[in-house]
Every structure is written in C-alpha cells, then in structure tokens.
C-alpha cells in the first residue's frame, strides 16, 4: 500500500484536426490510506484523471507515482490497483464467484483453492455469500454493486479507484451504500480515489476533496475547508447545496451596492481595497429573515422541507435563496427584509473569480446546521 502522486499530469485527446485538453498540469498527492474524492461538473476531466491513474488512458505529459515507483508507462494490469465502474461492468456470463475470482485467476499464481478461500472471505465481508452462484442479471442493483466492490477488494490492491459507483442506485440505497463504503474503506485502510459529480456525496465521503473544472484542478482540501474557504467563485458555487447566492456589486468606500437596491456596508473593507466592482457571495443558511433587515427581496416560492424551508426570492434580476426555520413561511409576492453577518460574506474578484474574503466566523457547526 502506498500513496499516489500526480505530477503535472496532462491529457490531450487528439482526434485529427482538433485536439481537446481534458486534463491540464494536474499535480496532486494522495496520502496512503486516504479517501480522496475527485469532484466537478461533467466534462471537467475528473474521470479522465482517474482513467489515467488506472492506466486505461495514456498520459500525454507528466508522471504518476505509486509510492516511490513511477508507473506512468505501466499497463493497467501491472499497476496493482482495482477499479469499480459506474455500471459495475460485471461479466454477464460468469457467476458471482467467477466474477470476483477472475482477476486472481488471470494474473496471480495462487492455487485455485486459495482463490476460492479469498472469494469466500470477501463475499462474507460484503454479505453476498448466498449469491455466489448467481449470474449478475439475477441480482438487484445494490447486490451488483457489492459484487463489483468484491471484485476490487479480493485483489488486495494498493489503491481503489471508483468511478461514480453509486450513481445507478436509487436515493435510499445510495445513502446506505455511502456509509458502508466509507466504513469498508476505513477498515481496509486502502488509498481510495473516488470520482463523482455529486458534491453532497463528495462532502459526505471524502477525507479530502479535489474540485476540478475545465481540466484544471481548482482546490484540494478537507470538505469543511472547501466550504468555508474556497479559493475561487467556482469552488464556492459548486460546493454546498442549495448553492451560494452570488451577485455583482459596485464598491464605494466600503459600501457594496448591487441589483434591486442592494446595499451593504462592510466594517472591514481591507480585502477589497482598490476594487470598483466585486462579486458578493452569501450562503443560504447565513441569510436570516428579520424585520429590521437592511435589504429587501420579493418572495417567489417557498419550498417546505419539513425541518427547514427554502425561500427563493428575487433581488432585482438575481434570484437568492435563504434557508430558514420551518416557522418562516412568507407568501409569494411578499417583500421580506433580510440580513446576514459580515463574517459570513464571501467576496470574489469579478474578473478572475479569485476569493478575496471568505468566512471569518468561528462557530462552524452552527453555520452548517442552521
């Protein structure tokens, strides 16, 4: 077992006339035993990165190291890794037992009896012992998922690579498997790289999260860090659900003015010294609907969630969302005053998107669980 280091990884797809840069200059190191989630919108290069690590794609430039060993030119089977695919990729003509044992049978010199033992052990671990003689098409989605995991685990690889492994499951099962996967990974202590487009999944599962966009790595860090201290507007927008409220504002001696008559005066405007325009971000849970709020928005829709309400409002031509207590149920069309503390304000450079100020409050758990 070992960590994984990517250095200046670049992948270019060359299809005759045009070439597409899928991954650009990506450097990232994953600790031994760490659970890293690669997240980003579709087409951001996260799957390509994973496939490069797996050895399923040739790397255009840069290098991949497992521990001390450079494996850039190794074939997939020589890398001692296992991968779980989105559609599980179970061999349809083999039984569960054969599916799990296939890799050992092909590429190890273990005697058959020992392969059987290992398959049995893995099946026991995953609770699929009674399915060992079934064919994949007789299994439910969750069971197939377990078999796919079993196939990875039995190889005792130095790393697991998972490409959206839960996206084919229904919501309830997905949540269950999420926990189970985390426990399994923690018990086995194997370095795991997990790709998903779902930021909730990323937040819930990752030790650290790497956010990618347009082939470029934006930020790596623990979930909490990404949420509170995004390096740029993209990360701030991508992480968190419902997503952060963003609006354009002009700056005049520490006072921000934006659409719909929005104004907000900063006590400390040091971070935007010299800026005339700025992008302002406020997370939905930091907005409170109070009678003496300094700004007012028009309510569009209120979505009751049971434990809380999402209140969608219009501020000029911008839609903003507030996450409020279930007792707050303004009617559509109401003009409601709202407020938010300065510690919760994010400020971004309007041209580069770079973060100028992020959350400065201390009470972290209060902020998230609203």
């Amino acid at each position: 077992m070992s960590g994984i280091t990517l250095t200046d990884l670049t992948k270019v797809y060359d299809s005759g006339a045009e070439s597409v840069v899928a991954v650009e200059d990506l450097s990232l190191s994953i600790e031994d035993g760490e659970f890293l989630v690669l997240v980003g919108p579709s087409g951001c290069g996260k799957s390509t990165t994973l496939r490069c690590i797996a050895g399923l794609e040739d790397v255009t430039e840069g290098s991949i190291q497992f521990g001390e060993q450079t494996v850039t030119d190794y074939s997939a089977s020589e890398r001692d890794i296992a991968m779980v695919f989105q559609n599980y990729a179970l061999y349809p003509h083999m039984t569960v037992r054969q599916n799990i044992g296939f890799g050992l049978k092909l590429s190890t010199s273990l005697p058959s009896a020992e392969i059987d033992q290992k398959v049995d052990a893995v099946a026991g671990m995953l609770g699929i012992t009674e399915l060992l003689d079934d064919k994949p098409k007789e299994l439910s989605g969750g069971q197939q998922q377990r078999v796919a995991l079993g196939r990875a685990i039995v190889r005792e690889p130095s790393a697991f690579l998972m490409d959206e492994p839960l996206s084919n499951l229904d919501a309830k099962l997905r949540a269950e498997m999420r926990t189970e996967l985390q426990e399994l990974q923690a018990n086995l202590g194997v370095t795991t790289i997990y790709v998903t487009h779902d930021q909730t999944e990323a937040m819930a599962m990752g030790d650290r999260i790497a956010v990618m966009n347009g082939g470029v790595l934006q930020q790596v860090g623990p979930p909490e860090d990404l949420y509170r201290h995004p390096v740029n507007e993209f990360v701030a927008d991508f992480i968190g659900s419902p997503s952060i409220n963003l609006l354009d504002a002009t700056v005049q001696s520490g006072t921000l003015s934006g659409p719909g008559g929005f104004t907000y005066t900063l006590d400390d405007s040091g971070s935007i010294e010299g800026y005339e325009r700025v992008r302002v971000g406020v997370r939905p849970e930091d907005i409170t609907l109070v009678d003496d709020g300094e700004n007012t928005a028009i309510v569009n829709v209120v979505e009751p969630m049971g434990n809380e309400n999402f209140c969608y409002m219009e501020l000029g031509d911008v839609e903003i969302t507030a996450r409020v207590l279930p007792s707050h149920r303004p009617a559509a069309g109401d003009a409601v005053p709202f407020s938010f503390p300065e510690e919760a304000v994010y400020l971004f450079d309007p041209d580069t998107g770079e973060a100028l100020k992020t959350k400065t409050d201390e009470a972290t758990d209060v902020a998230i669980s609203a």
């Binding site: 077992m1 074939s75 001692d80 049978k105 092909l106 590429s107 010199s109 005697p111 058959s112 009896a113 020992e114 033992q117 290992k118 052990a121 893995v122 039995v154 005792e156 130095s158 018990n187 086995l188």
Partner: protein, 343 residues
C-alpha cells in the same frame, strides 16, 4: 501486498490446498498466463484480429470479383500452364501460375449478349416469375403475419412453427419433393384436382404451368421466412397507436391502412427487396424441377450462366453475363430502396 484476506502461505499448505485435478488445472493456468504475455498491446493487436478474415476476404472475395470483370473481356481457351508472375530471391522462389489461357476480345462478349436470344429469354423468364411470385408471397406473408399477431388467435406457437418450418428445408431437397408433387401421373396436386373433379394438368410440359410450378415451390419455401420478418415488424408497432386509432373510431381496415401499413413500410420494403433479389438469383428450383424447360420457358439467368460456363465452357462469355446479372441485382436494390424513400 497481502493484508486482509486469508493467505495460505504456511509451509505445506499447497499439498492440502486442492485436489489433484485442481492442481493440474492450475498448472495449465499458469502456463497459459506465461504464453499470453507474448500477445502485443492494444494498438497492433487489432490488425492481428482482422488479419485472418482480411486475407481470406482478399483472396476469395475481392480478387475473384475483380477477376470476373477481367475475364469478361476475354475468351477462355482452357487451363494454362504458364506463369503469371514469379519472385526469385535465390533460395526463395515463389511462382503464381496463370489462371487460364485467355484470348482478348474487348467488348465482344458484351456485344454478343445484346443479340443473344436465350439470354433475353432467361431475363424474361426470371422477370415473369418474379413479377408474379414476389407480390403473391409478400401478400401471403403479410396476411399470415397479421393473423398470427391477432390477439384472439390461440396455438400461435404451433401455427408459427408449422408455417415457418420450410425455412429449414434444403433447397435441392424440397425442389425434388415439388418435382414429384407436381408429377403429371401420380403427383398429389393432380390428385387433389381430380377429387374436386378437375382435369389433371401437365404441369411440367406446358410453358405456362411449368412457370407456375416454380412459383408455387418458391412461395412454399420462403413465405414463412418473410412472415417471421414481418411478424417481428408488426410486434414493433406500439400498441398505443392502435388504441388511439380505436378511440378515434377507426375500423379494422382503417387501422390497417393508417397504422399498420405506414408503420410497417420500412420492413415491408426491405422484405420486397430481399425477395426480389432472392428470386432473381433463382437456380436450384428450375435446375431440379424443370431443368429450364419446357423449351427454355423456365431457364433463369443464373441457370443460363451456369450452362454457358460449365456445360459450354464459355467462361469469358459467362463472366460477361455475370457482370450484367450483378449490375441488375445491384440496380434493383438501389432503386427499391430509393422508391421506399424515408431512409
């Protein structure tokens, strides 16, 4: 490696790890692992995959096609002993013999076709058979497919099997059976006619009836085949369309006219093209049943090519006939696909 799973690496574990058979199997497995490392990586392996096919394709399909075209400009004068070309590299000597002794005649063969009465006769016969046989067969096949698709019909499986069973009949064998079925003296068909009081028919001695015999035989053999294809087409028509038509008050005939036919059109067209080409290539049936007679009334194009090539040994001329034949077949399929429009 080696972490969380049981590892049987204690000394002597192997001996009790598996039976004799499984150990022998393992040895075979390891040997295979070693050999399979020789296989090349992703890129070039594709060429290895297509090589056997491609070599045979070039040798026995591409080359002969070109050679037929070539041959059609020559007169065949027997087998040749000459070399066509050779490669002499000292120890390695490769010689490819001339395929045949040929006399160049330019477009002579093609000019001869224009004035060849028997060729035109065979064209006429084939077209005649085709013009009657294909519509009858497709009509029957469609009617049967619709009947078998009807929700009220029971024993569907039995009927479908029985009607489709001729698809498994060997062409020459079934032709032989038809030869006897239509025998003038003791054939079952004439017996059936006699029981309803009709005169026996000299099926194979009259030009008119000989062609009908061929048509009957071909229809028997291929109706079930077309029915299967049409039935699959019918089953692909969404049921909601019929339900919608029913709500709109469509009668049975209107449903056929406005739902079934337009929905089935591509399949129907496809079946027509397939059958037309199939009938155009008719050979075994007339060869066995009528021998092309009486007075060449049922000789087909392929049969005529066969006669010219392998009875008269005019291989050059027969090649020219073949080229014309292939051209016609290709044109038919292209035209019919065009008429069908859509795709």
């Amino acid at each position: 490696m080696s972490t969380w799973l049981p590892n049987d690496d204690r000394p002597g574990a192997d001996s009790d790890a598996g039976s004799l058979r499984s150990r022998a199997w393992d040895r075979f497995r390891f040997a295979r692992q070693t050999y399979s490392r020789v296989v090349p990586e992703v890129g070039p392996v594709a060429y290895l995959f297509i090589a056997p096919f491609f070599i045979l394709f070039t040798l026995f399909l591409a080359f002969p096609i070109a050679y037929t075209l070539y041959l059609s400009f020559f007169r065949y004068e027997g087998v040749s002993g000459d070399r066509w070309f050779w490669v002499d590299l000292g120890p390695i000597f490769v010689e490819v013999p001339q395929i045949a002794e040929l006399q160049f005649v330019g477009f002579g063969n093609y000019v001869r076709i224009l004035g060849d009465g028997l060729f035109w006769q065979s064209m006429f016969n084939t077209t005649y058979i085709l013009a009657i046989q294909v519509p009858i067969m497709i009509g029957l096949a469609l009617a049967l497919a619709i009947a078998l698709n009807a929700s009220f019909l029971r024993f569907k499986g039995f009927f479908r099997t029985a009607i489709a069973i001729p698809v498994s009949a060997n062409i020459v064998a079934y032709s032989t059976v038809f030869l006897l079925l239509f025998n003038e003296q003791f054939g079952l068909v004439n017996y059936a006619l006699a029981t309803i009081g009709a005169e026996p028919i000299a099926w194979l001695r009259s030009e008119f009836w000989a062609r009908k015999t061929i048509i009957a035989a071909v229809t028997w053999r291929w109706t079930g085949y077309n029915m299967i294809i049409l039935l699959a087409g019918l089953q692909n028509i969404p049921q909601q369309l019929y339900e919608a038509a029913e709500i709109d008050g469509a009668s049975r005939i209107e449903k056929f006219r406005y739902v079934t036919l337009p929905q089935l059109k591509p399949v129907l067209l496809f079946v027509v093209v397939l059958s037309t080409i199939g009938t155009f290539k008719l050979f075994a049936e007339p060869y066995v049943i009528t021998g092309g007679g009486p007075t060449n009334a049922t000789i087909t194009i392929v049969q005529y090519i066969y006669r010219e090539a392998f009875q008269s040994w005019n291989l050059g001329y027969a090649s020219a006939l073949t080229v014309i034949f292939v051209a016609i077949v290709s044109v038919i399929s292209v035209i019919q696909i065009r008429i069908g429009g859509d795709n």
